[in-house]
Symmetry: C2
Subunit: 348 residues, 2 copies
């Protein structure tokens, strides 16, 4: 059983096109043409070269190709939200999982970094681009007149904005109809008979939050519903205080819509602490479905927009942008999953 330890195969330097050229008896230019499928070498030579390349286990040098301006086979994503939010909010995990799943199929990687603010985010993207480390960038949580999109567009860099509305130059948007989604939610509440509805929002600088607020207000106006929006910045404690504030009114809302699952959970906690029963005293809707919504007591009515698919679609859009294709996308499917947390309001 004591076979002589086979000498570790010396970690020889990786093969280069020069090695292949030598072995195949051609010049390195010929090798380059052959492996890149370009015309200029006879079929026989090409075949031979490819054969040798395989033997030598050759892989193009990423660094050298990058120096020549080749692609990076990677797309960049900078998350400009606090780590706690990213760790808690299920949206990010699902979105990233979706992006990854789609990117991986094509051998692309995701370059991920976190930043304090948008300025830092821009710096990171610019660095990656200057270094040729990414072929394209994903932008999340777009603002109105978003500086990130402007600077990325200025660099003529392939960019996919999730939830944006611009398709121009190198920028493409994955449209998300927040207005329609909000109307779906409100329709559900309206049908149950709610006439006093509150919306605890995320960050009002975000375009999607604004779109939801606009649709919320419009719906309330159209139907003669008393509507009230309160910003809670995706922060659980702000969600609790917003909830407390809402319920302290002499005419509290009979239904509350929360802009994220984390804020929903926090809000529910506050309602319970305050002695309100859900849905008897207040109905609750979460903007984001999650395992949590299904297992809470009561189970929570939620807007399901499938963040994994959203991630997949963003990645697909990016891949198409990079391939210079343009494909029609079906919009992200959005539904309201009615559960126990919503019911008709009590007669007052």
């Amino acid at each position: 059983m004591s076979e002589p330890a086979r000498p570790e195969p010396r970690r020889r330097k990786r093969a280069t096109i020069a090695d292949i050229a030598e072995r195949a008896g051609v010049t390195s230019s010929a090798v380059s043409l052959a492996v890149n499928g370009k015309r200029g070498v006879s079929d026989a030579t090409r075949a031979r070269i490819l054969e040798v390349a395989r033997e030598l286990n050759w892989r193009p040098s990423h660094a050298a190709q990058a120096l020549m301006g080749k692609g990076a086979e990677a797309v960049g994503l900078v998350l400009a939200r606090p780590p706690e939010v990213i760790g808690e909010e299920i949206f990010f995990a699902k979105f990233i999982a979706g992006v990854q799943a789609s990117l991986s199929e094509r051998g692309y990687s995701l370059l991920l970094q976190m930043a304090q603010d948008m300025t830092a985010e821009i710096t990171i993207h610019a660095g990656w681009i200057a270094d040729g480390r990414v072929d394209g960038s994903l932008v999340l949580d777009p603002r109105i007149d978003d500086p990130r999109i402007k600077s990325l567009a200025g660099l003529d860099h392939p960019t996919v904005v999730v939830g944006g509305d611009i398709d121009q130059g190198s920028v493409r948007s994955l449209r998300v109809d927040n207005g329609a989604a909000m109307r779906l939610v409100m329709e559900h509440l309206d049908e149950l008979g709610h006439a006093r509805i509150a919306f605890v929002t995320g960050d009002q600088n975000f375009r999607h939050t604004q779109e939801r607020m606009d649709a919320f207000s419009q719906f309330c106006i159209d139907r003669g519903i008393w509507g009230q929006s309160l910003a809670a910045n995706f922060d659980p404690s702000m969600s609790r205080s917003a909830t407390a504030r809402l319920m302290s009114s002499p005419h509290p809302p009979t239904a509350i819509v929360y802009d994220s699952d984390v804020m929903t959970v926090a809000g529910l906690g506050e309602l319970t602490a305050l002695g309100y029963a859900v849905p008897r005293d207040v109905s609750v809707v979460s903007w984001e479905d999650s395992a949590t919504c299904q297992v809470l007591h009561p189970t929570v009515t939620a807007l399901n927009r499938d963040a994994v698919s959203l991630g997949r679609m963003a990645a697909a859009e990016m891949l198409e942008l990079l391939d210079h294709q343009s494909v029609e996308h079906s919009p992200v499917e959005v539904t309201v999953v009615a559960r126990e947390s919503t019911a008709a309001p009590a007669r007052s």
Copy 2:
């Protein structure tokens, strides 16, 4: 208001050291020495060169440096679990957020990709390494005799194994004492008086799952507890069926420990569906604390091991490995958060 549109500043090619050399009246070699803080240029020349470099807004070319074998300022992580699991299991989001937070402070990026299996994971890592796209790699869910660790070690590539136990060559382990954690959980249950305990495990190929199982069995033997492990592979439906199987016994367990929060939620769902009350009929513990555990009804007793810190520590370990430092780490703090889902068993 009609200022003549200022001609878009021509996106001039980025400055190179040759440009700097020209402007500063030196050779490019001098520039290289100066910007890299190497000796060989006078302080005066160095100052002038640095000044010009700043004026020209110079940044070293990442591609060129990579060609010369410089670092990539990035660490790689491949997730070899199904996208659904990664999207649902809060551990990954927290862990990645922690890694990112720590890496970002030093300007490092995370190269992230998903893979079908370990073979694919190895291929991805090898590719990144060969391309010099990562300076180090993170390995999650180590197995006994893990092929990934072997191949990474064989490449002499800086590797941090989360939950591993090897510190050798280029491989460093972030130790996680699963045995102690399990004993903590079991102690809690034992104190409550449980004598029939089940453990619904994740993937038994994972070292951490095995370590938990071993500690579980040992504890049961030591205390004369009837213990039963059942594999459910982090799959919610398997968790449900395992739960059903367990409860169908003529002598069902009085407490069940689930190896993840998703499996806990699924198991609770099954128990409820089967008509069992928690904790009256069965106590439940989740191996992984999450917002969900806090808001479920009943709230769930959980093992809190702070995945965000774990991520931070893994990144810190990596950074130290890359800096050739070796720092003593305090082990990850682990506690059992007792909530409503555990209570003394009913007298039978």
